[in-house]
């Protein structure tokens, strides 16, 4: 990977004085060992008028994948990797290693040069840039750079693939050299916002220190912070990732969260800009909240004292169930990663409360003795993640084998999708949804399943019930016909 920085001389200062500031002699080629390989510093041009320094990082691709501490990473993606070629965190680390003094703003031989403002031209032929050229402008323009960012095509031979996430980035501006280096050092990894394989926590701290004052006043400060924190969980390679790879699929995204509403307003863009969107739009949050409330109300009305949340995801509803005081709560999910996160959430409760909840990996298409014997069960935004032919298996496992006294099911109402302006007609709210039902479809399914297993079923809307297209979410309450009479209200809800 390559970075060139060109200074133009003037006002009695020859351009090649840059060499003093950089502590690198323009007539020499110097090489430095850095963690990712070898960094070479050389000057393709150096004279009175123009001085260009090039930082060329030769990454050792074999050593790269061996990783640190002898632990082999097991994802093919790390072997066929853009890291040796893109200007991002590794280049930032090399920059700091090679130009440490210049970055610190020191020059003992020529202190007069430290605060000189140079006309600079920085060129990064391949910079990783999540969010495209606009993101580069958002990050660099406020610092006084004139930004030219041109997206690189993925493959000139396959034009229909469009642009890659890389840009040819050129920054022009009058800057102190130390500032220019600091900007690059902090913002190159931020621009990448992806796969900080070689940035540890301590590196992040260093970046923030170097950012100093200008970062604190940067208008895109929170975006920069988010980009650093984005996707760090990707470091962990899971069995799921390995199996996706067996199938030649791209690394799987996080499992479908239960709360996967599209925003009701336009403005959120592609996945790539997700990192820049700190919080869900208010309408989404409202619906998630309304859904939790509706499910909790239905469970409470049933008089249950034990509840199993089937497909609990990261445990948002579990937390509410615990707060509501149920004596016995079980959360199951098919994803062990989701359960780990749910465990972190419920671990925050005091031990006596924590003791009322159990988390277990399970699957709604398999009969599982552990989910039987609960007063109430919840399937919140779960059924639509199953292929339709698997629904009878779910019915058998939940209604036939687990046989809760009450079952609460929620699922999107497909009719409502026309109210989401950014949702293309006929498409679904989440890429993992296998179907989305109209109200009539949901009711037909629920009534047949209830009848087959000796349940009665009623329906209610969740969220604003639109006259024309109904509510965004639909909810069904199944009640087992032969369930024992509900306990009196004093004992309902357990230890509350």
């Amino acid at each position: 990977m390559l970075l060139t920085l060109t200074a133009t001389g003037g006002a009695g200062v020859p351009a090649d004085d840059l060499g003093y500031l950089l502590h690198k002699h323009p007539a020499r080629v110097q090489s430095f060992d850095v963690s990712s390989g070898t960094a070479h510093v050389l000057y393709p041009r150096s004279d009175d008028e123009v001085c260009t320094v090039a930082l060329l990082l030769e990454v050792d691709p074999v050593a790269l994948v061996r990783g640190k501490g002898g632990r082999e990473p097991f994802a093919l993606a790390q072997y066929v990797n853009d890291r040796p070629y893109v200007a991002a965190s590794q280049l930032a680390v090399a920059l700091r290693r090679v130009f440490a003094t210049a970055l610190a703003g020191r020059c003992d031989t020529r202190p007069d040069l430290v605060d000189r403002v140079w006309p600079l031209d920085v060129h990064l032929p391949v910079a990783a840039c999540a969010g495209g050229p606009d993101a580069a402008r958002r990050l660099f323009e406020p610092l006084g750079w004139d930004v030219t960012a041109t997206a690189l095509p993925l493959d000139p031979d396959v034009p229909q693939w469009g642009d890659s996430r890389y840009v040819d980035l050129r920054l022009r501006g009058a800057q102190r050299l130390a500032d220019a280096l600091a900007h690059l050092y902090v913002l190159l990894p931020a621009l990448d916002a992806n796969k900080h394989y070689w940035v540890g926590d301590d590196e992040v701290d260093k970046l923030v220190r170097v950012g100093g004052t200008w970062l604190a006043t940067h208008p895109a400060q929170s975006e920069i912070a988010h980009r650093y924190l984005a996707r760090r969980s990707r470091l962990a390679q899971s069995a799921l990732a390995r199996l996706a790879e067996v199938d030649d699929l791209a690394a799987p995204d996080d499992e479908p969260a239960a709360d996967d509403e599209p925003a009701a307003t336009t403005g959120t863009g592609s996945d790539e800009t997700a990192a820049t969107t700190p919080a869900p739009a208010p309408a989404q949050a409202l619906l998630v909240h309304a859904r939790h409330d509706a499910v909790l109300a239905a469970v409470r009305e049933s008089g249950a004292s034990s509840v199993v949340d089937l497909g609990c995801g990261e445990g948002a509803l579990l937390v509410r169930l615990l707060e509501d005081g149920y004596a016995r709560v079980l959360g199951t999910d098919v994803s062990t990663r989701a359960l780990e996160r749910a465990a972190r959430r419920v671990d925050a409760f005091p031990e006596r409360v924590r003791a009322r909840v159990v988390l277990a990996q399970s699957s709604v298409t398999y009969v599982d003795a552990r989910v039987a014997g609960f007063d109430a069960a919840v399937l919140m935004e779960v059924v639509e993640h199953l292929d339709p032919p698997r629904l009878p298996a779910l019915e058998r496992a939940v209604l036939g084998a687990a046989r809760p006294g009450t079952l609460v099911v929620t699922t999107p109402n497909a009719e409502h999708n026309v109210r989401y302006p950014q949702l293309a007609a006929g498409s679904m709210r989440h890429p993992d949804h296998r179907f989305e039902w109209t109200r009539a479809q949901f009711r037909t399914w629920a009534r047949a399943a209830a009848g087959a297993y000796g349940y009665d079923v009623t329906f209610r809307p969740v969220g604003p019930d639109d006259d024309e297209v109904g509510p965004p979410t639909q909810l069904a309450v199944f009640r087992r016909r032969d369930r024992p009479a509900a306990p009196t209200t004093e004992t309902a809800g357990g230890t509350r």
Partner: protein, 892 residues
């Protein structure tokens, strides 16, 4: 000498004062692990076998150990004084909880002898009064022991009798493991003598009649025997005639029988007890009243003497009137008998007044075949290796027999409806009538339920394979597989197989290649394999194609939804297509199979495989020619282009890396050329960077070969190369012992018959690895394949499955082309320094994994074509997926 008979599975409770010689007796009469001693338990929990303060903890331990042993079906002896009633009660309860018979053996030794013995032992410091008290308690207990629940109580008086006693073990009455059949197992007869005679005739039995012309026996020329599943009597026209025939057959050794609930009730009625004479008993009693008193007594004794369930043929077959769950096989207790006679009842009644029965067979996971009757069903169907043979003859249905071990149903229709059923016998439209009925309930739709238990797959599992024995699955691997299986894989009912991973050949020791055919050939030569077949490695994705001959087979055999006639899935069981292309592709394969008459050919191949298995001889062509055509095929294939499935990966990963590499290396070369022109010493760096730029271009060229546009099926190709299995009816065959040229010949027939151009051939070359000229030819073939942009080849033993002693030779190794490997090892892997380091890759785990997955995949296929229950097939399929999640270098 006294011989004490104890059931071979029982809980033997020794009763006797301290010093009566229990431990000595136990050591002499039982195996070293069979006795659990309270003194030893005291020692374990307190370091002192005589510490009376540790008694409670010691007995907790003792009861636990006894329970574990009884669960495992092991005879167990309790060596404790057991002179107090509450101590014995706990043990009787423990025996009952495990459905094991409790037996008491009392060692009645004079107190003086006990005291004397204790005094001789330094470690026993308790006084004579303790022994005296124990002795008194024993004497008081003696009379009531029988009423405490012990099946038998044996009392040995004095040291001499004790020393002379010998323990004899007799099998449980249900244990008839040494009866190997063959059998004809007949469901509920209910007095339908005419139908029984017709069925026996159809089964090949010759009736034997008495002087009055009444049938009293039936004999099969091949020595086959009948097993009667109970409910011989009531409701039908001639219960007495059926009894006469059944009793005669049993007495002559031509039949075995288990009792039904109707026989149990008949015994009570004949004993003069008050019973309701509903459900047809009145008719039977009326018929019996016309018979002589002596014969009535014989009937009573016959019915009363039947054992509620029988375990036959080394435990492979279990018969009981109402079925029997696995934990009750070869056990004896009231509830085992009750289950066998009445089924798994809830104690509730449905709206017809009939007891509500739980579908125990849906949860059955045992290895033994269970045949039973009791619940009339319109069709006899397999559910998890069990079958209900009550097809409602007396209600106008059929009388059914199952030939064992052939698993062949033989049926005769009822002459008429002899008795009107309380509940409509044929399924009605209203599914709400029965709370356990459901669309997936086996009892209502006559199909193995598509419901699996998490216990089948989750946690640490061991899958028994015929090829490699036990294959262990780690819990964390099962956890990863559960998510993929649940979220992405196709329905388990039509997921019969997942392909194993394949190891590359050994690494080339030198040169500019990482993989070279010479290592593959040498590897097989070392394994003693002479002939190998090289098959072109297609530039696509592995695909498993299940194609049914028609929609009926798809629905009946695989429960595929309407409009679906098969499935095309990936290595992890994901369907390739979510749209109409799936059916289009299946239609293409089916059309080619029709034109090539592959159904007939594979039907014959299936029959030959069956015959070979039965007779141990191949090619019984005469019989095979009559064979039914195959109903379905399972093909191993490659689906092209790769971009069809891996489009996102190609774009997001490969193209992205290519774009970055190209732009980055070009810019660096330019900068370095400028520097060189300034006479800076950058020659080496420039040379390296220029090489990288060339590698980047080569990388782009390598992945672009896998990308081409498709529209519908236009541009899509399927290259079948192996027939994994074919099915006829509920059975079928696998073909791993047929050589690869046979498989490729079938594939060629499909390709030749394909009119759409979608099916594609697999180029191949046979190489003799012991002939240098042939090997050189193989190398040249590979070289030309890869030089033309091909991915490489797979080398397999020509004979297909090859064993070498107890090992299985690798079923195939891949030899990948130099340029293709850029996509795996990165653009610059060909740089000599990089190559040298990459040569140190270790193949051991990959090779072991490939073998285990191969064995599991074959196991899944074997289970599927043997008509085994869904959970058994799924367990093996799931295990392949679980192993695939093991962390192994993905570049191999």
């Amino acid at each position: 000498m006294t011989t004490i008979d104890v059931p071979s599975l029982s809980l033997v409770v020794l009763v006797g004062a301290s010093g009566s010689g229990k431990s000595t007796f136990a050591a002499a009469q039982f195996g070293p692990y069979e006795t659990v001693s309270s003194d030893e338990c005291r020692g374990i929990v307190s370091n002192d076998p005589n510490d009376q303060g540790a008694t409670d903890a010691a007995f907790d331990l003792l009861h636990h150990v006894v329970g574990v042993r009884l669960s495992a079906g092991l005879l167990t002896v309790v060596d404790a004084t057991n002179v107090q009633p509450h101590a014995r009660r706990a043990l009787v309860e423990l025996a009952r909880a495990h459905d094991v018979l409790p037996v008491a053996i009392v060692l009645d030794v004079p107190a003086g002898v006990c005291v004397e013995r204790n005094e001789a032992r330094a470690d026993r410091d308790f006084g004579a009064h303790v022994v005296k008290r124990q002795h008194d308690q024993l004497r008081r207990s003696l009379r009531g022991l029988g009423r405490e629940g012990f099946r038998t109580v044996h009392v040995l008086h004095g040291p001499d009798e004790i020393a002379a006693a010998r323990i004899g073990r007799r099998p449980l009455r249900s244990d008839r493991s040494d009866e190997h059949g063959p059998f004809d197992v007949i469901g509920d007869v209910h007095g339908c003598r005419g139908e029984l005679e017709a069925l026996l005739d159809r089964l090949g039995y010759a009736l034997v009649r008495d002087e009055a012309g009444r049938p009293v026996d039936a004999v099969h020329p091949d020595g086959r025997r009948v097993v009667l599943l109970g409910d011989l009597v009531d409701r039908g026209p001639d219960s007495v005639g059926v009894l006469r025939l059944a009793m005669g057959m049993v007495a002559a050794g031509h039949a075995l029988a288990v009792p039904g609930n109707h026989e149990a009730k008949l015994v009570r009625a004949l004993d003069g007890r008050a019973v309701q004479t509903s459900h047809g008993l009145a008719g039977t009693l009326e018929q019996l009243a016309a018979e002589p008193e002596g014969w009535r007594r014989e009937v009573r004794d016959f019915c009363d003497g039947l054992v509620a369930h029988l375990v036959l043929d080394e435990g492979r077959l279990v018969v009981a009137h109402a079925g029997l769950k696995e934990s009750f096989h070869n056990r004896a207790s009231g509830r085992v008998r009750s289950f066998a006679l009445y089924g798994d009842t809830t104690g509730e009644s449905d709206e017809y007044g009939l007891p509500v029965r739980l579908p125990w067979a849906d949860d059955y996971r045992g290895r033994a075949m269970v045949l039973y009757g009791h619940t009339p069903t319109p069709e006899a169907v397999w559910v998890n290796g069990t079958m209900c043979l009550d097809t409602g003859c007396v209600f106008g249905g059929k009388l059914s027999a199952l030939r064992y071990p052939e698993k062949e149903l033989v049926q005769v229709p009822a002459e008429r409806e002899w008795y009107a059923p309380a509940r409509p016998f044929l399924p009605t439209a209203d599914p709400t009538a029965d709370p356990t009925a459901s669309p997936t309930n086996s009892a209502t739709n006559g199909r193995d339920p598509g419901v699996l238990d998490l216990e089948d797959v989750l946690g640490a599992r061991v899958v028994e394979t015929s090829l490699l024995g036990r294959v262990t699955i780690a819990p964390e691997n099962a956890a990863g597989a559960l998510e993929v299986m649940s979220r992405f894989a196709t329905d388990p009912r039509h997921l019969l197989y997942l392909p194993p991973t394949m190891s590359p050949c050994a690494t080339a020791p030198d040169g500019d290649l990482l993989e070279h055919p010479a290592q593959a050939f040498a590897g097989y030569a070392a394994d003693g394999v002479t002939a190998v077949v090289c098959e072109e490695k297609h530039m696509g994705s592995r695909a498993v194609v299940l194609v049914c001959r028609d929609a009926r087979v798809a629905a009946d055999r695989f429960a595929l939804p309407a409009g679906s006639t098969g499935v095309v899935h990936t290595r992890t069981g994901r369907p390739f297509f979510s749209d109409e292309r799936a059916e289009q592709l299946l239609a293409t394969v089916r059309a080619a199979a029709d034109r090539a008459d592959l159904w007939t050919r594979l039907g014959q191949a299936t029959a030959q495989t069956d015959l070979a298995a039965q007779i141990g001889d191949a090619a019984q062509t005469d019989d095979a020619a009559q064979a039914a055509p195959a109903d379905w095929l399972l093909l191993d294939a490659e689906l092209l282009p790769w971009s069809l499935k891996a489009g996102e990966l190609l774009r997001e990963q490969y193209a992205a890396v290519g774009a970055a590499a190209r732009a980055s290396t070009r810019a660096a070369v330019e900068a370095l050329i400028t520097a060189r022109d300034r006479d800076l010493p950058v020659a080496d760096l420039l040379a390296r960077t220029t090489a990288r730029a060339a590698n980047a271009d080569a990388f782009g060229a390598a992945y672009r070969r896998y990308v081409w546009p498709t529209d519908g099926l236009t541009g899509v190709h399927l290259a079948p190369f192996q027939v994994l299995a074919a099915g006829v009816g509920a059975g079928g065959a696998t073909f791993e012992t047929r050589d690869h040229l046979w498989h490729l010949d079938v594939a060629d027939a499909l390709v030749a018959a394909d009119e759409t151009g979608v099916l594609r051939t697999t180029r191949r070359l046979v190489v003799d690895v012991t002939d240098p000229a042939s090997v050189a030819q193989g190398v040249d073939w590979w070289t030309s394949l890869t030089a033309a942009g091909g991915e490489g080849m797979v080398v397999k033993p020509l004979a297909n499955l090859v064993r070498q002693g107890r090992r299985v030779v690798q079923p195939g190794v891949k030899v990948r082309g130099r340029e293709y490997l850029r996509l795996i090892y990165g653009p610059d892997y060909t740089e000599p320094a990089n190559l040298e380091r990459l040569r140190s890759r270790g193949l051991g785990r990959k090779r072991s994994l490939a073998q285990r997955e191969y064995a599991l995949g074959l196991e899944a296929l074997h289970r599927a074509v043997a008509g085994e229950p869904l959970w058994r097939v799924h367990q093996a399929v799931f295990a392949v997926l679980a192993l695939e999640s093991e962390p192994v270098d993905p570049r191999l």
